[in-house]
């Protein structure tokens, strides 16, 4: 009798586990939760967990609860594949990742192979932040969907703004030495050259990804070059430390960035005292003026105690729900088909579309600057008292770029 009780005690929880695994939609969240990218990865995780909680509170997706599986990839492509396999073994049919295009390329390739080898057990890859253009061009995959604007879309919008700023004469490029940083640098050279041939590129730097602890030698070089503006795709500690070193050395230039708003960035900008001289390009920001987005921001900050850094994650999860409902299934193959060419009202207002040709999501893009807030701008960042201010908005049709993707469909 005692043995039987024991056996039941051991087996019963397992059964319960198996039953709930059938019901829940597991999403493997593969991003850095340790190392130099940890601050960014943890913010993303909290965002997805918040979104999952919100959806679950309203009955989940087609009655299925959503569960986020946090998996630490240390920003390492090799480690990411191990984690992806772990997610699949744990029953995840959806994987989401964002930090590091080198990781994204490896994951996209891994999942494409996995789906070819295991028909009936397909996995979808939702990319919310890896912006290397090649992922929706020469390396495109049917199983990969990207909600962030790719690097060339962002650079197109950024240079459209920069070309009208007559005071820009000398530009310095500093980027991380990997696929994304290299694409920022190449796009900046090409687009600035075409739109403002009079602008001089006085420096073009690549530094190791998330390894530099002291940027003062780089700042000295920027200063010596006489640049008036710096263009950088740096993110995470690579941005915060770059600005910290600039603040220490008293470097006064305009910064055109992709990710100035990431963890540590706003604090560093406030330290430099560069009021509305640091610009960033995003698909949304807290003070965008859209009522729905601002309500969401308020609730998010109250619960998570972070500012919403990934409006695209909101779009991703909401659109996932809409696609599953349209397909009336949570089967990845049907969801993928439903997502193609799907139009969707994004968080910050305006209509976006998931293009069928390359699975890139196109949406309105904003250039904003960081500094003292106006009366109608309620949100500051990292308790600095400063926040993001709208500089220019690019609508979806103007934020579209062509693709060379030759999609292989199953």
């Amino acid at each position: 009798m005692r043995k039987l009780t024991l056996a039941i005690a051991v087996i019963a929880p397992m059964l319960g586990h198996a039953a709930s695994a059938e019901d829940t939609i597991k999403i493997g969240y593969i991003d850095p939760l340790s190392g130099g990218g940890a601050s960014v990865g943890e913010g993303g995780l909290k965002t997805f967990q918040y979104l999952a909680d919100k959806l679950n509170a309203k009955g989940g997706i087609l009655g299925h609860k959503i569960e986020i599986l946090p998996l630490d990839n240390k920003t390492n492509p090799q480690e990411s594949l191990v984690q992806a396999q772990k997610a699949i073994d744990a029953g995840a049919h959806y994987i989401t990742q964002g930090n590091g295009s080198s990781v994204a390329a490896a994951l996209s390739d891994f999942i494409t192979k996995n789906n070819t080898r295991n028909p009936g057990k397909e996995v979808l890859y939702f990319n919310y932040a890896a912006v290397d253009p090649s992922l929706t061009n020469e390396k495109c995959s049917y199983w990969h969907f990207r909600w962030d604007a790719s690097s060339d879309i962002k650079m197109e919008a950024l240079t459209n703004y920069m070309k009208d700023v007559q005071s820009i004469k000398k530009v310095y490029l500093i980027n991380q030495d990997y696929s994304f940083g290299q694409s920022v640098r190449a796009d900046a050279r090409k687009m600035l050259g075409a739109k403002r041939p009079d602008i001089q590129i006085v420096g073009d730097e690549l530094h190791p990804l998330l390894k530099v602890t002291d940027f003062s030698p780089y700042i000295a070089k920027i200063k010596a070059s006489g640049a008036d503006s710096v263009v950088t795709g740096n993110w995470g500690q690579d941005f915060a430390l770059l600005l910290k070193a600039a603040a220490d050395a008293g470097l006064k230039v305009n910064w055109y960035t992709y990710y100035a708003g990431g963890a540590g960035g706003p604090t560093a900008i406030k330290q430099t005292g560069l009021d509305h001289q640091v610009f960033q390009i995003t698909e949304g920001f807290p003070n965008s003026g859209n009522q729905g987005a601002m309500d969401f921001e308020k609730a998010f900050r109250a619960k998570v105690n972070l500012s919403l850094w990934y409006p695209r994650a909101v779009n991703e999860m909401r659109m996932f729900k809409a696609a599953a409902e349209k397909a009336n299934s949570i089967d990845p193959v049907k969801v993928a088909a439903a997502l193609e060419d799907m139009k969707f009202e994004v968080l910050d207002g305006g209509q976006g579309v998931m293009r069928k040709d390359d699975h890139q999501f196109f949406q309105p893009i904003y250039v904003s600057s960081f500094g003292k807030l106006a009366a109608n701008e309620p949100f500051d960042e990292e308790n600095t008292g400063w926040g993001w201010h709208l500089v220019s908005r690019v609508d979806t049709p103007q934020a579209m770029v062509s693709t060379t993707c030759k999609m292989v469909r199953p």
């Binding site: 340790s34 601050s39 003062s216 000295a220």
Partner: protein, 315 residues
């Protein structure tokens, strides 16, 4: 150009002194005990986290004294209850113990403080530009770091070479039994040396924490370069470590400042003009490879002069 040279020299010296601050404790432990302490960078990390926590509670200046003492106490406990027992099994066992300890400390730190960077600020007393040269500011805090490094270097040299304490410590390494017969407690001497070495690492942590990033991977990111410093300078040689720190700081800073590539060395005969698989290699600039330059130096010195710059023995 002059501007870049002057500023790079300053930056190089400042970075070099930080490296020395870190490697001094490691050198002391190695030269006095013959233990290559793999957990040294972890003690440095503990120093930074203790410094952060104590600064929050009681302010930066008390933390500057208390945190190294705490780390030193942990170091002494490690020697007393860990290293002393493994000592009889030889150096490999000691090495493995410190190696395991490094992982354990990293995990414990990330369990307590999380994996994100902490908001560890420079104390407001030192938060101003000390001087301006070529319109570049030098923060007072960096000058403070420089001063502390030099004070530690001088103090260590005097204690080890000019006092009775230093004499006993050095004798204990080569003739432990003789020193014991003279009435000194050799075990306690080793424990104190390990404690002082760890405390120095802790001090480096408290000071470097606000200047660099305080997070749970800081040990892993600075650990390897410390070994470069002490091997390059000569294992166990304090002046060697001092010179090596300066050389590595300067080399790394100047490498960043240089834009030349292999291809540009050929002038108009640029070999990268023709398409080939080697194009990328020809066009890599010195700035891009700056972070690996110290490791290349390490390999070269091991081939050319295995005992290091100022080392006296080969192992």
């Amino acid at each position: 150009m002059l501007e870049l040279v002057v500023i790079s020299t300053l930056n190089g010296v400042l970075f070099g002194m930080l490296l020395f601050l870190l490697s001094s404790g490691l050198t002391v432990i190695f030269s006095m005990m013959g233990v290559l302490n793999f957990a040294h960078a972890s003690f440095y990390m503990l120093g930074a986290f203790f410094g952060f926590q104590l600064t929050k509670w009681i302010g930066f200046w008390p933390a500057l004294v208390l945190a190294p003492l705490l780390v030193g106490a942990i170091g002494m406990a490690v020697e007393r209850y860990g290293l002393r027992n493994t000592h009889k099994h030889g150096h490999v066992a000691e090495l493995l113990l410190t190696f395991g300890l490094a992982f354990a400390i990293e995990e414990i730190v990330s369990m307590i403080w999380g994996k994100s960077p902490l908001d560890y600020r420079v104390p407001s007393l030192l938060d101003f530009p000390a001087f301006t040269i070529f319109s570049t500011n030098y923060p007072a805090y960096k000058i403070f770091m420089l001063a502390v490094s030099i004070i530690i270097f001088v103090a260590l040299l005097i204690v080890l070479k000019r006092t009775r304490v230093g004499l006993i410590v050095q004798a204990a390494l080569t003739h432990p039994h003789m020193v014991g017969h003279l009435g000194h407690n050799v075990g306690r001497v080793f424990m104190a040396v390990f404690g002082v070495g760890s405390a120095l690492a802790g001090l480096a942590g408290v000071i470097a924490g606000p200047a660099l990033v305080t997070q749970s991977d800081m040990a892993a990111s600075l650990g390897p370069i410390l070994f470069v410093v002490i091997v390059f300078g000569g294992l166990g040689s304090l002046p060697g470590a001092f010179i090596a720190s300066l050389v590595i700081g300067l080399v790394q800073t100047f490498a960043v400042a240089l834009d030349g590539s292999l291809a540009s060395a050929f002038g108009p005969l640029d070999p990268s003009a023709g398409p080939s698989v080697l194009t990328d290699i020809w066009n890599v600039t010195i700035a891009q490879v700056a972070p690996i330059v110290p490791y290349v130096l390490l390999v070269i010195i091991l081939i050319v002069r295995p005992m290091g710059l100022m080392g006296t023995r080969e192992s």
